[in-house]
Amino acid sequence: MKPYVPQYVGTITKYVFVDSPDITPQDIATAAYEIAQGIMIKETCFGCQITGSPEDVERIINHLQKLDPYRIYVKDRGFPPGDARRCRADLGGARPGYLGHEYEMDLARYITYGLQETDRMTNEKLKITADQKVPRPEMLDIEILESLMKEE
């Protein structure tokens, strides 16, 4: 077996996602470059990836979050950016995690709304809301839906 020598030891990588009508992924990446000070920034279709010491990465993320405080999403990544082991170009297809992002980013607008609303709440109101259950509308039976569509 071949020995493995890791790169970027001691660094962390974080994904920054943006889901905003005002700020594009490119804006995010540009803003990150501006204060990068040598830290590795990689622009992506959803925002950027930042690789460096935990302190540096946090410094840049804090700055980015100010651009649109309710619409910036962040998570850790195990791999450094552009790693051939995870790269779509090398694997022929997206790594499975990409589809998970797709799924959650579709829900981001609800989270953004929730963040804005809860920021305006008093402690009491927050507590009451946290315990609330929103009744879900019953799913329409697929056969009923089909017959409705046929009637149309």
């Binding site: 995690g97 589809l99 929730g114 709440m121 809301t129």
Partner: protein, 147 residues
Amino acid sequence: MAKVFIYPATSLILSTLVTRFGHQPLGSAISIREHIQTPGFDSPPIQITSDDPQYGLKWAAVEVPSGIRGRMSLYGPLVEEADAAIIIDEPDLAFGCMGCARTNELLAFMLREKNIPRLELNYPTSKEEGVTFVAAIKEFLKNLERQ
């Protein structure tokens, strides 16, 4: 600051919220990073070797499929480290590290078994649910500070 296990362990939403409200999210990336940054034998893509499913025997018996034991070798240590957990039920479209339903069942069970503060909820499907979802998590994480 508490270490909060997030389930799905790959969740961007939970990771964002836990960090935003002042705590440290524990998820797949932490374990994967450790694998990727540790020298050893080359085993791309995620540097899991046959030793990892063997290590996974600590959490799952030998008749449990190797993929589950390999995943448990990522999660087991994190669960042991966790001070609290947030669980979103039915992560039916979280792939990769959370791609195996059997592992997910075992993982959620271990989190429930462990005597730590725990919040269980569903993904929001509307703006209104988004508010209760965020409120529940915010309130839960605020209370962790007091504890």
